[in-house]
Amino acid sequence: MGVELQGYDFPVGVVEDGYLSDSEAFASVINVINGVRMAPSLVPQSNKEQYDYLVTVVNPGKRIGQDDEALMATALKALSRAVFRLDAVYHGSLLNNIFMSSIWDYGLDARNALLELITTLATVPDKFLDNCLYTLLHNLRPPSRLKAPFNQSKRWLMRKEEVRREVYLALNCINTLVPLAPARLKILIEKCMPRFTEDKYVLMTYVEGILGLERNEIGKFLGSTVLARVVDLLIDLDVNIPWEDILQEEPNKGIFAIELGECNEDDEYTTIPNMDTLGLVKNTFADKLDGLMVVACEHLKSCSESGHLLEVFERLSEIFQRAMLKLHKSKFTQFLMFYACSLDPDTCGLKFAIMLTDIFISKDEDPDSRMKAIAYLASYLARAKFIPSSLVASILKRLVDWCFEYCQLQDSWVNKISPQADRVFYSGCQAVMYILCFRLRSICDVPQLKQLLFHLPVDSILHHPVLDPLKVCLPLIVQEFLRQAQTARLFKKPMAHSYDNSLESEFSKAFGGIQRLDMFFPFDPYLLKESDRFMRPNFEFWDMVKTTYSDYDSSEGEDSEGEDELKDLGPSNFPKDNDDEDDLDLKIDKMSITPNPSFLHQIATNFDQSSQMPARIRPSQSPPSPRHGFLYTKKEERLDDQKI
């Protein structure tokens, strides 16, 4: 009796006699617990006090000293042995306190003791498993009192890593003891996902933690739950970024305008507004999305390094089809797929392209999905540097073949264009043209692919008398395509097409429908700053594209200020004087060239811009930027040389 009485006075016992031995601690804890195992009104006051004391020891809820921590660790260890005597009702407050603990605050011993307790609690039949799992998941969040300046300190980063590792370990232990636990964990993960309105740091830490869980052993039982929830979170943030922050006054006016924001000071000509003027930067949702995209991309990268990319990619594909494809114009989330494909172009890149093509061609899908799929496909094939021309060519073949069959099935007595009815066809045609704007040159550079392309019935599709896609698709794309096709001699007979400088026609609006799917280019340049570094190396900007009518090596354009670029100028602008310059396949002398308006203006105005840069909507008003100015002067010299 004497020993037990002494055991009740925890602080006194500890300080005076050294630390309690385990069995003594255990005995006293058992007594305390048994002491309240009855209806609350019957509990004697002393028992209640002991019990309340135990409750506070177990989770002080604030920073505590070393001694208190040791006491807590002892109490927790004793409780671990006593779990089967705990009752959900009688010991409710004790259990509540345990489940509310945040293990971030404590030292190693206390953490281990707490996790041991939670793991053991999980094995008690059906009472506490959910709570235990919830506590562990909750501990993947940083403690709420952690504020911005401190959360980057080395100490906290180390603590974060330790805590995370311990949580994973605890979850794995529970998994060993209770093999069906992952089923409950799955449900809990779905419930516990933070909302998109929470703080950025909390979101990033939690998502990082949960993705780490997926990479862990227990992840293989969780299936695609984790990824699906993370993508849902990204989408929530994405749709909350207002379009006004991204678009300028005239939306989409420069599909083919200069896209490299940082080297051009003219805001008007960029689809990416300069960073200073960008409202996007100040938007909190964009900020959070940025951070989360960084976390997600890092996760994909580490999966790729450990060789699991393919499985993750399969899940991501499914999620993409289910969630992102149905979404109306998601802004940045689709770049997750882009990045995943870039990590393994031969497998994942290929699969993604084929998946999209299959959705477009399949009869089972609804027209809207098919139109979205083809918009994704076109933008993807155009913008992904890592996709080889051979793949592009083979997919083009499939698309063109499909369009051709569609044309064959047209009733001959219908002679009115109905964009709404044939909208899938028009989006297919537009996609083909868009892809070729970016890729025609690189396909023509490879003889076999060029053969393949030239054998395709592109001509008969685009010039179909009834359907007439050239009238219906976006004029800007049509214009650019025709220009390149002309130079490459894709069509048998040259065509005079009126250069319609309007952005959109009535017809294109009609086939695009309410959602304006005719103007949907999902992989347009990426605007989020921090995660941009993942996308940029693999992204093809329009400036970098080698078009058929201008063939200097523009990828060096930024650095080498001009010497190498000068020797090859657009041959269409020099019908006679380029004998020393044809390292091209194109037989310039045989080409009958319709007068190119830019040729006539080349001396007078910004010559360099009209030959290097693609279609513009209006003549440039601004003075050429220094880079272009340099070229301009050099070319002027050249011209003088050759004139005589």
Binding site: R81, V83, F84, T123, P125, D126, T176
Partner: protein
């Protein structure tokens, strides 16, 4: 091991019209949702199934959504532990107060100290935690050993079993198989034969051929099993 049996079931699975071009897949998916959950109608946990769709015709239910009712015949492997059955499982954790066991790889069982007979004492041998028998030197229970225990109670939702090591024919299976008869426990042997008899009784009527529809066969009719092909 007791508690395992194979049952034949005549079931009707309702397939959503959107899955009508992949009926077999939808049926398999619906049956998969039954796995590892305790089902009252089957009175046990479904561990495995084998499906046979005998006919290509199915009835379309009239209603808001015209589900297709597909009749199937399935062989189901059921696990239905009852109190005082003997089960075997692998020890995963040994605590001072409890032994944690996993049965058939999915069901967790815990044996409390008060349900462990006196001869087993908690010891630490060679740095390892074991429950060693004080009367038989070689009879040791440690992490990873297979033990046989008796079922005390069963929690159906998470399939947690409370076990007991009180009866003398429980303990480490390896040791028991070698020394069970040497102990001279006739009680053991009689228990064993009655075990075998019980098992035969359960499985007997089930081994007859499928075409028979005699009433003493355990086949159940399952109605109202809906399936939705998505998520």
């Amino acid at each position: 091991m007791e508690g395992l049996r194979v049952a034949e079931a005549d079931l009707v699975v309702y397939v959503h019209p959107s899955k009508s071009n992949q009926v077999r897949r939808a049926v398999l998916r619906q049956l998969s949702s039954l796995l590892f959950t305790h089902d009252e109608i089957f009175e046990g946990v479904v561990l495995a199934y084998e499906v046979n769709i005998p006919s290509k015709r199915a009835k379309v239910i009239s209603g808001l959504i015209p589900y297709i009712g597909v009749k199937i015949k399935a062989n189901l492997l059921l696990f239905s532990p009852k109190p005082s059955m003997l089960l075997g499982g692998k020890v995963v954790k040994l605590g001072k107060e409890s032994i944690h066991v996993v049965v058939l790889g999915f069901s967790s069982a815990a044996i409390m100290l008060e349900d462990i007979r006196e001869e087993f004492k908690y010891k630490i041998k060679h740095g390892e935690v074991v429950f060693a028998s004080s009367s038989h030197k070689r009879h040791v229970i440690k992490a990873g050993s297979m033990i046989r225990f008796q079922v005390k109670s069963l929690d159906e939702e998470i399939l947690h079993i409370s076990g007991s090591l009180l009866p003398s024919n429980t303990g480490c299976i390896q040791w028991l198989s070698k020394h069970g008869t040497e102990d001279g426990s006739y009680a053991d042997r009689s228990l064993k034969t009655s075990d075998i008899q019980r098992e035969m009784q359960e499985e007997g009527p089930l081994n007859t051929t499928t075409g028979d529809k005699s009433p003493n066969k355990t086949h159940k009719h399952k109605s109202k099993k809906r399936t939705r092909g998505d998520r």
